[in-house]
């Protein structure tokens, strides 16, 4: 959203102040929700890179969160420090993302969606079946919270600030990435891959990179998730979470920097608001998404932008079938 520079700084400062002050007025469950929001935002930021910038649908983001979570759980319950888990999970998720995307992106555009769908099924099976490693459906419990430079994050408030810190780092890194030539190339990929290619943008390589980085961020979120909930089991990382993350990015506004923050907030809070209706919240959420996509595919932020700037020129997107030319 393009607010005036001064207004942006003030709004940003206010938001940060709110995030820092919020936990002090909340009960432990409220603080847990805030931490969960931070963790989900990290995963959504990753998916936003893949979907919002490179224009690819990944249905395996939850699997990468799972890979990160299990890496953290297995390492820290054996006494390893959390930063080792961060390093390993990030590298692992990046590599797997690369391997998965490489064949899929050689072919048609939408194959990645199906490949990630199948991969998500495979990962769930591995997590559930390989009990010698993951303890299967019994899960891994008593996952410890880290001590950062002598400061223990055991208490809910302390762990929340830890999550917030990681989120701040991830946001800064992603922001830097988006402003770099890579970010420009990603935007070009999404807006007009044919033109981008004719300008020398290696679309395959950049798309793959966006997907791999996005998956790596999923892994980072997972490493944070494990000590947050302190007990993990396979069903938490099944397709349901992948769908959830996808919808988060869409609802917030895919391709916008702040989209994931907003989308994660909606997604984490919605079940709480709709607590009275129990199972209905998913139905309501799904309906909401369908209506939103029909009316305003650029999500809530896109909607807000459109309300602020009704005369904004909408350039029609070229339909994928077209090769960019008329007949001549």
């Amino acid at each position: 959203m393009k607010l005036a520079p001064r207004a942006r700084v003030i709004a940003g400062a206010a938001a940060v102040a709110l995030l820092l002050a919020a936990p002090f007025g909340l009960k432990p469950y409220g603080i847990y929700l805030l931490s969960l929001w931070a963790v989900m935002t990290i995963a959504a930021i990753g998916l936003n890179l893949t979907l919002g910038y490179a224009g690819q649908i990944s249905l395996a983001q939850a699997s990468f969160v799972g890979i990160g979570a299990y890496t953290a759980a297995l390492l820290t319950t054996q006494g390893w420090p959390l930063w080792a888990a961060f390093a390993l999970a990030t590298a692992l998720s990046f590599a797997i993302g690369w391997l998965l995307g490489y064949p899929a992106l050689r072919v048609q555009h939408h194959y990645l969606a199906f490949v990630t769908l199948s991969f998500a099924t495979l990962v769930f099976l591995i997590l559930r079946n390989e009990e010698w490693l993951t303890k299967g459906v019994y899960g891994i419990s008593n996952i410890p919270r880290p001590t950062v430079l002598g400061w223990s994050t055991q208490a809910p408030i302390d762990f929340y600030f830890f999550c917030l810190g990681v989120l701040a780092l991830v946001s800064a890194a992603t922001g830097w990435l988006i402003r770099s030539p890579w970010g420009r190339a990603f935007t070009a990929l999404r807006e007009n891959p044919i033109r981008a290619s004719s300008l020398g943008v290696d679309t395959r390589r950049y798309t793959l990179m966006a997907f791999a980085i996005g998956s790596a961020l999923g892994g980072v979120a997972g490493v944070l998730y494990a000590p947050l909930v302190q007990f993990i089991e396979p069903t938490a990382f099944a397709l349901g979470l992948s769908f959830s993350l996808l919808l988060m990015v869409i609802v917030g506004g895919s391709g916008y920097f702040l989209g994931p923050f907003l989308g994660a907030a909606v997604s984490v809070l919605l079940p709480e608001w709709l607590r009275f209706s129990e199972g209905l919240y998913l139905i309501v959420y799904a309906l909401f998404v369908m209506i939103l996509v029909a009316m305003c595919p650029s999500g809530l932020i896109g909607l807000a932008e459109r309300l602020r700037r009704p005369a904004a020129i909408a350039t029609p997107k070229p339909v994928p079938r077209d090769d960019g030319n008329g007949s001549s």
């Binding site: 402003r179 943008v201 350039t315």
Partner: protein
């Protein structure tokens, strides 16, 4: 004089329909080659085959003697061959300057140097020169989608030149541009051709534009070359007139 681009026996069919059949020609460094012909004669298809958007059914394309048939467009760009599209293709959400920087950044260094290097890939200077040259200074910070059609066209052409290509294929650059800007466009192209030693191949329907800009003309009809030569010679050629007007 060695040819910059050699096209040999290029053919392209879609199913049973032959769009381009047995086309051969050379493009020499420094010239402005015009490619004209009635609608459906295969001009854009020919471009797409040369530039990697389509894989030709037969034939060969060589640049500086090296075969480039079927190479991906992004790789061709790095060899110094660029293009513009018939349907306007700028990046509407990016500013004019950002569009230009994007157009030039992939030419420099590697992917990793681009990540580690400055945000503008060192191209702000070049982009500013382009903005000056194409007189887009007033709208340099605007989103490209907000520009007028004629301005977007100029930006489109400017983008094709950001990487300093030696050969640019322009697909109907004059389409939809008002006469005043057309004169401007032609002057810009002539200047780049002279100072940057850039070679052009131009598809156009606007006869006046083509005749006044190009040094040599090829005429395509039903997928084949039916005439070639200096503008005046082609203009008076019987076959060409018949191809346009029908028998």
């Amino acid at each position: 004089m060695a040819a910059l681009l050699e096209v040999r026996n290029l053919a392209k069919s879609f199913g049973g329909i032959s769009a381009v059949a047995d086309v051969s020609f050379d493009v020499y460094a420094g010239e402005i080659l015009g490619l004209i012909g009635p609608n459906g004669s295969g001009k854009s298809t020919l471009f797409n085959c040369i530039l990697g958007q389509l894989a030709p059914s037969a034939g060969e394309v060589r640049a500086d003697g090296r075969p480039i048939t079927g190479m991906r467009p992004c790789d061709l760009n790095r060899l110094g061959i660029g293009r513009t599209f018939q349907l306007l293709q700028v990046f509407p959400q990016l500013s004019v300057r950002e569009n230009l920087i994007l157009a030039g950044q992939e030419h420099l260094g590697s992917m990793w140097s681009r990540l580690a290097g400055p945000h503008d890939a060192g191209l702000t200077g070049t982009a500013n020169r382009m903005i000056e040259f194409f007189r887009l200074a007033a709208v340099a910070e605007e989103r490209a989608g907000a520009l007028s059609y004629g301005q977007q066209k100029l930006l489109d052409v400017a983008m094709a030149f950001m990487a300093g290509p030696r050969l640019v294929l322009l697909d109907e650059p004059a389409g939809g541009v008002n006469p005043a800007m057309l004169v401007d466009l032609r002057e810009r192209l002539r200047e780049i051709n002279a100072t940057e030693k850039a070679t052009f191949v131009v598809i156009e329907h606007n006869m006046e534009f083509v005749m006044s800009l190009c040094t040599r003309i090829l005429v395509l009809a039903e997928g084949r070359i039916i005439a070639e030569g200096a503008p005046e010679a082609v203009r008076g050629n019987r076959d060409v007139i018949e191809a346009y007007l029908g028998r």
